[in-house]
Symmetry: C2
Subunit: 203 residues, 2 copies
Amino acid sequence: MFSPLIDELMASLRCLPGVGPKSAQRMALHLLERDRAGAERLAASLQKAVAGVGRCQRCRTLTEQKFCGICANTRRDNTLLCVVETPGDVLAIEQAGTYQGKYFVLLGHLSPIDGIGPEDIGVDQLIKLLQDDPEHPEDRVREVILATNPTVEGEATAYYISERAKNLNVTVSRIAHGVPLGGELEFIDGGTLAHAFSSRRRL
Amino acid sequence: MFSPLIDELMASLRCLPGVGPKSAQRMALHLLERDRAGAERLAASLQKAVAGVGRCQRCRTLTEQKFCGICANTRRDNTLLCVVETPGDVLAIEQAGTYQGKYFVLLGHLSPIDGIGPEDIGVDQLIKLLQDDPEHPEDRVREVILATNPTVEGEATAYYISERAKNLNVTVSRIAHGVPLGGELEFIDGGTLAHAFSSRRRL
């Protein structure tokens, strides 16, 4: 319907999550009619980010530096390591504002059906971090906190990591799951409620 | 929170309509984690479109060719001209599938408060199209159909164009406004209902 370059731009915009044909059309026309400077800036940012952003050498999160801001921060507690699935999870935990340790970002979860095995989510690199480093004994990880998502794959990933870490001199813990604060029991799903009951604590 | 290149990508994504901080974060992380090829393709499409897409010399719609597909189509009726605000409006009318004439796309509407006057929406070019062309008398526009939006600015634009076209040998019409087909009276706003009553037709 539109000219080839505009059709191609609409098709390319569909790679963005949550963007269907109608949104892609609205975005393409908006950029071409009203914000060509923004479109050029977006193109440049995309190219720079794709070319420059790699992974933190310690925690595997997305960054263009050798070590990400959190890994490079010497005031954070090196003895605590929180394992999450994505950089977005790191942001969510940082915004909660209580955790002062470091992170390890799997960038995924175990999913044999999609061909994603332990080597794809960096489990060997994680185990290496948990092993004693004779040169820096003060940096030894005391506790690894598994904060993968409470989905089938996230639980399987947490279980696999806990098994691999069993023989190391490190405490393995899992974040608590149950009724969220402010949640009303009436609207909580059965699985969560059952988990909340089986994980109840003595007061 | 993220590294500078990722933060910049998120900021750039905000130029897309309907994309707030949360969506921008989700889009940036999705592209960097899972679809770098899509990101590169999007960057290239953006640059090609910004560099290549201009305006149709006849109807002012967005196209990278001299004349858009509809203006170049010799089987369409040259004696009917429909005036719309945006290329998206052309698409909506084409999808309705009944109109066989040509279009004129204002790419905006009169809005003195934003400094948008008749010259910015190509009214002079439109009037020129409506004037008799002694070389091609068979292409003379018989009727101009004003299909600007039924907003204050759209109505003002339609009124202005109708005044300018008054002395030309051309019929000026406005698309009908009223209760949409399938709409229930109960849920139609008062302004539309009042218009539907005042524009009632004898059966």
